[in-house]
């Protein structure tokens, strides 16, 4: 990235809009309440605040990088435009029939999620393309014209076009767009062959519809935002964070707003990746725990792991299958209903269950004293001594331990014959175990061994739970960075310009066609680079190439990274070998005698990230001054221990603290159990590691 100057990172979240100003190497941040009716208002307010604090003018800002949950929320809350679908005759109900399965096996009163578009908003044309791209039924222009007139009568604002097998042959979709452009010039059109040119009609159609559905809203918002910012003096380019962890131009974002879904969490992963790079860590588990959910992501070689498809707007306890699939490049994250506000109860088997129901901020956990009477994770943390009742959120909220005790005893202890402390221990163990299980399963899915990983923990609740989670996962070392409360917005400032282009084209290794491979990659390169060049006229653009492969007959593809040489001179045996190695790594062995095939081709183009300045090593020096003492429950020892209290402000580089200890700061508390110690690093990260004597729980 050339001539950085002053840069602004903006993350619109559900409750807060986080703003981070980077002036030189100094970061200034603030949080303002999100203004739903006109989200740009909060941005302007926050921008003036940080500019004033840093003593710079808005006009000195050279770049604004923006991520937002607005797109996600519009899908969850169904606040999109009046949208129609045009699809192949015989396939009107693809988005309603889904996978024809129930995501919860034992619930007789299961409610399936409503499709984004009602049935009467889904229209068909008589046409058909086959799996190889051949035309089985030609499209009839006059039929489409008639349909266009019917759509005009119904006053749609946005139209999605999704035809079968359009990922191999988009000619029918393009013809429909041309006719719509003639007859309904003011209506926005989204083609499935452009939004998500991948096989599997349910995912592709749904993604295209989601894009069409939020396009008018997002386009409008982005135009307004640009105007307001210029009016306030920040007349600089605005870029958008996308779900894949890179940034794209405002124009691209307005055309493909579905790519903005989950951009906030993606920023968090990029934040963790930038810290991993600074510390030279090649295997990192990022752990982001806030008020309602925890998010876990694998980061290898400073690059968050990505996926081709994910699910948004889950309607049933975060359960897989209860939301809608979106097939765009995305940072692969596991999200579970485990946060500071997650509520606990005892089920029929006398088991403690935690989440996904959350106390939210109103009434909040019982200890807030705002009328909440059910025990939340924060209540357990308070009773276990992890939080200071008189100094929570910098002393701005007084906590009530007696209310926590009461909630824990009433809802858990009475049923399980446990006093408040033991109930709190049980609650905390269950929520930590839930997160550990999610992390383990995610690692297994990716063929990774977490004991080789370092954790990077951020978000308000993560430092309270990170050490225990590390113990459960066999992770020795955990870094807790500064600025953890606005991690996503900082992450935006660290993201490269990038765009990933994917396409489904089937090719078996036996029918491997090298010239075809070269031309495919060339097309994808051109597409991906155009998006990046649109943002940055001069920087060098690099590209990573990937194919998704499987044994013919399997339903699950695995990603195989290719080197530049393997892309320039494609060779069937080399591709097969790379696949078999990857397969063996994931599943223990490859399978002899089976045909392998490539299903999806992928090119990620990006500008080179700013060179990383490695963090200087620190010499372990003085012990941190002890400012107090507190009784802390140590789950590794199953007992209460006497912990020292240390202020994070005193944790200058090289300063050490020995567990049991709690390190307090305004936003959160870092809990250091008996088996661990902390060293402050040169960049103010806290390194929370197992004691060198290896003493563990």
């Amino acid at each position: 990235m050339t001539s950085p100057g002053n840069r602004l990172g903006v993350d619109i979240g559900g409750t807060f809009t986080d703003i981070v100003l980077e002036a030189g190497d100094r970061l200034t941040s603030t949080k303002v309440l999100t203004t739903y009716s006109a989200p740009e208002t909060a941005i302007i307010e926050g921008m003036h605040k940080v500019c004033a604090e840093a003593g710079v003018a808005p006009s000195s800002i050279s770049q604004i990088i923006h991520g937002t949950t607005l797109a996600t929320n519009a899908l969850i809350e169904r606040r999109g435009a009046k949208t129609a679908l045009i699809t192949t005759k015989g396939f009107r109900d693809v988005i309603e029939m889904r996978t024809e399965s129930r995501f919860e096996q034992y619930d007789l009163n299961l409610r399936l999620p409503d499709p984004l578009l009602r049935r009467e908003q889904r229209y068909v044309v008589d046409e058909r393309i086959d799996a190889r791209g051949g035309v089985l039924v030609p499209i009839d222009r006059s039929e489409v014209e008639k349909l266009a007139d019917a759509l005009a009568d119904a006053n749609y604002e946005s139209i999605a076009v999704g035809l079968l097998h359009s990922y191999v042959n988009d000619s029918h979709e393009r013809l429909i767009r041309d006719i719509l452009a003639e007859r309904l010039p003011d209506v926005m059109v989204s083609l499935s062959s452009e939004v998500s040119p991948q096989m599997r009609e349910y995912e592709r159609f749904n993604t295209t519809i989601a894009n069409a559905y939020i396009k008018p809203l997002m386009k409008n918002y982005l135009r307004r935002l640009n105007g307001s910012l210029s009016k306030e003096g920040a007349d600089c380019p605005v870029f958008l964070m996308h779900s894949g962890g890179g940034i794209i131009s405002l124009e691209s974002a307005a055309e493909f707003p579905v790519r903005l879904v989950e951009s906030g969490p993606a920023g968090g992963a990029v934040f963790a990746a930038s810290i991993a790079a600074r510390h030279g860590l090649d295997k990192v588990l990022s752990f982001d725990m806030g008020g309602t959910t925890a998010k876990i992501c694998l980061i290898k070689n400073s690059t968050p792991k990505t996926a081709r498809v994910f699910e948004v707007a889950r309607t049933y306890r975060f359960k897989k299958g209860s939301g809608m699939p979106i097939s765009i490049p995305v940072i692969d994250m596991v999200e579970i209903g485990a946060g500071g506000g997650s509520l606990a109860h005892v089920d029929a088997m006398n088991q403690i269950r935690v989440g996904p129901e959350s106390a939210g901020s109103e009434p909040g956990p019982a200890c807030y004293g705002q009328g909440g009477d059910k025990p939340a994770v924060t209540d357990a943390d308070l009773v276990l001594g992890k939080l200071d009742p008189d100094n929570f959120a910098g002393g701005s909220i007084a906590l009530h331990p007696d209310a926590s005790d009461k909630a824990l005893v009433t809802h858990l202890g009475a049923r399980l014959n446990m006093p408040a402390l033991e109930a709190a221990w049980g609650l905390a163990e269950v929520v930590d175990e839930n997160m550990a299980n999610a992390a383990r399963v995610h690692a297994v899915e990716n063929g990774e061994d977490l004991s080789e990983y370092t954790m990077i923990a951020f978000g308000g609740a993560a430092p309270l739970h990170a050490a225990r989670l590390c113990d459960k996962l066999g992770i020795d070392r955990c870094l807790i960075p500064e600025g953890a409360g606005v991690g996503s917005a900082i992450g935006f400032l660290r993201a490269p310009f990038s765009f990933e282009a994917n396409r489904s084209v089937f090719m078996t290794i036996d029918d491997f066609n090298a010239p075809r491979v070269q031309s495919l990659f060339k097309d994808l390169n051109r597409e991906a680079e155009a998006f990046v060049r649109n943002c940055d006229a001069s920087s060098k653009i690099s590209a990573d190439h990937k194919v998704y492969m499987r044994y013919a007959g399997q339903g699950w593809e695995i990603p195989v990274d290719l080197t530049d040489a393997e892309v320039r001179n494609p060779d069937a045996d080399v591709y097969l070998k790379r696949f078999e190695d990857e397969y063996a790594k994931l599943f223990g062995r490859s399978v002899d005698g089976m045909q392998a095939e490539i299903t999806v081709w992928s090119v990620n183009a990006y500008t080179s990230p700013a060179p990383v300045e490695p963090v200087d090593a620190v010499k372990r020096g003085d012990s941190a001054p002890v400012i107090g003492a507190r009784a802390l429950f140590d789950p590794g020892l199953s007992d209460v221990v006497d912990a020292t209290v240390v202020g994070r402000a005193d944790m200058h580089p090289g300063v050490v603290a020995k567990g049991p200890c709690v390190i307090t700061e305004d936003e959160t508390t870092v809990v250091v159990p008996t088996n661990r110690g902390v060293t402050a690093l040169a960049d103010a990260c806290l390194d929370l590691s197992l004691n060198t004597d290896g003493a563990s729980s």
């Binding site: 396939f91 024809e100 839930n434 399963v441 994931l586 599943f587």
Partner: protein, 570 residues
């Protein structure tokens, strides 16, 4: 044994459920069989040293619920615990000691910790092919249905039984995939075992005795609490379905008693000549699943939570078919059992259970080959291929909710994307969409079935092995609700076809199917008029249906259709 805190047991139980989910996931990711990887037709579980199931992964099929719970005891009896060694893996596809047909392979691995035997992992998957006549109804006995593998060692103290591998290779149509799946099954148990060992180390366990008692005791108590909260009583249920060549009557008596629910299938039809017969273990699975959904849906499956549900069926009835009856498509009848149980349960526990639905999954297998009637030019490049497709009819209306459109119940398997199916073989699916008016009318409406038109590309002909019911016996409405639409199947030139069996379709023809809808619940006169208008607007019901069953006037109908034309919400 070290005494563990209640908190530690809470964590361990939680962990073991995650362990079996991981075990199942490993199988889904590596299996070759379509039914496993796309449809979730598999299961995985952990057992204590006595062979009692402690945890089971929740997967796409309830059919393995009790079957898996019982299978391990058969392995213990046949092999003898004293003969079990570290590094052993056992296998069978015995329909009576496994999960009901030869296509399901069950693999069991003993777990050893520090040299001591502590328990078992077991898993089951439906494989692509098992030889014989192929997957379908047509065999006259189990001998024709394929290769039979009695309970035996697949791996003996780390040494693979190559003789067995050779026999399997020599007897199935897709040897690489089937042998691949056997290895997948072993790997999946190994994954579970490794996680179990890590947990035992973390909690310093030497055996599973303590955690096993904790799980089983809490599960038993929770289940009995639910059962004993119900009013005692007994009631009977009945359903008549197509069967193979004559209708099958399913009769059940449900008795809610102290500490147990008894489900007796006395009076049910005798065995069929063809492969729709059900081994008893599979009957138990679906009867038990139905009762659990209604009474204790949140209690996980294990030996103790399943035990209070007692299921019996007379020997040599179609629900307790003995060896060597043909059983390949036992799911067609097995999937009808929950709705039969609910016919009885509705009389005991009103406002709880749904009306009848499509019931069995609407599966068919297509065998494609170069068309004899095609010209030489058309046949150019034509191939042979086997394609298995899963589809669902509509589910029955619930007391407070409409039935689910084109969604399987009781099975939980998934359909494959049309684009993916067409990439696999030279198949063309011309139509796959909801079938208006097929959901039975009622206060709540039955779920819609679907239209499905299936052919092959030019140059090919095919056989279709149909596995459909509800041609002559559609889903019946409950408490005044109307029946769902029946199954229909014919060729595009109106040539009639049968609901079950392998049938030839010549070059140039395709098959039109209308899959059944679920039945309605309560009188249609009581349906909220706003819902009727929405159904009409979306075309879930036609104008005729609105007029006939829901008493809409022509003026009301026209008003709705005009709103749709103008794009206004109804």
């Amino acid at each position: 044994m070290k005494k563990h805190s209640n908190v530690a047991y809470q964590v361990m139980w939680n962990r073991l459920i995650s362990v079996v989910e991981e075990q199942a996931l490993a199988l889904v990711r590596t299996a070759f069989s379509t039914s496993v990887r796309e449809a979730g037709d598999l299961s995985a579980g952990l057992y204590n040293a006595d062979g009692d199931m402690l945890a089971q992964a929740v997967t796409g099929t309830p059919g393995h619920v009790n079957a898996m719970a019982a299978a391990v005891k058969h392995f213990m009896r046949r092999i003898g615990v004293e003969n079990m060694l570290e590094g052993d893996v056992y296998i069978t596809n015995d329909p009576w000691e496994g999960t009901g047909h030869l296509h399901d392979l069950t693999v069991v691995s003993p777990s050893f910790f520090n040299g001591e035997f502590v328990g078992f992992f077991a898993c089951t998957a439906h494989v692509v092919d098992i030889g014989g006549r192929g997957f379908g109804v047509d065999a006259n006995s189990v001998y024709e249905e394929g290769l039979y593998i009695p309970i035996m060692k697949f791996i003996d103290a780390g040494v693979v039984n190559e003789t067995l591998v050779n026999i399997v290779r020599g007897n199935v149509r897709e040897p690489d995939q089937v042998v691949g799946d056997i290895y997948s099954l072993s790997t999946c148990n190994e994954v579970g075992h490794r996680r179990l060992v890590a947990m035992m180390e973390e909690f310093s366990l030497s055996d599973l005795g303590g955690i096993s008692d904790f799980i089983l005791e809490n599960s038993r108590k929770a289940t009995l609490e639910r059962i004993n909260a119900l009013a005692r009583g007994e009631a009977t249920g009945h359903m008549r379905i197509d069967g193979y060549d004559e209708p099958v009557d399913l009769h059940v008596k449900i008795s809610i008693e102290q500490d147990r629910i008894v489900c007796d299938w006395d009076g049910t039809s005798g065995i069929s000549r063809k492969g729709i017969n059900v081994p008893h273990i599979y009957t138990k699975a679906y009867a038990c699943y139905a009762l659990k959904c209604a009474i204790a849906p949140d209690i996980p499956n294990n030996a103790a939570s399943l035990a209070p549900f007692e299921v019996s069926a007379p020997e040599n009835s179609i629900l307790n078919a003995l060896h060597p009856a043909p059983v390949a498509i036992r799911h067609v009848i097995g999937h009808m059992l929950p709705d039969t149980v609910y016919d009885a349960l509705d009389k005991l526990l009103p406002d709880l259970v749904p009306a009848e639905g499509a019931g069995s999954l609407c599966n068919f297998q297509i065998s494609v080959r170069p068309g004899v009637d095609a010209t030489e030019e058309e046949r150019e490049g034509a191939i042979r291929a086997e394609v298995l497709v899963f589809n669902s009819g509509g589910s029955g209306a619930r007391p407070g909710l409409d039935g689910m459109n084109a969604t399987a119940f009781p099975s939980g398997v998934m359909t494959m994307p049309v684009e993916a199916t067409e990439q696999v073989g030279p198949v063309i699916i011309w139509r796959k969409e909801l079938r208006p008016d097929s959901g039975g009318a009622g206060r709540t409406r039955g779920g819609l079935g679907q239209y499905l038109d299936v052919g092959v590309t030019t140059g090919h002909e095919f056989d279709i092995s149909a596995m459909f019911d509800r041609v002559d016996h559609p889903a019946r409405g409950r408490r005044g609700g109307h029946n769902g639409g029946p199954t229909t199947i014919e060729q595009d030139d109106a040539t009639a076809m049968k609901g079950k069996g392998r049938q030839f379709v010549p070059h140039g023809r395709f098959v039109r199917m209308a899959l059944p809808g679920g039945a309605g619940y309560g009188s249609p006169a009581d349906r909220d008029p706003a819902l009727v208008r929405q159904d009409l607007a979306g075309g879930y019901i036609s104008a005729d249906e609105a007029r006939q069953h829901y008493a809409m006037t022509d003026a009301e109908i026209n008003a709705v259709l005009e709103k749709v034309r103008r794009g206004e919400p109804v």
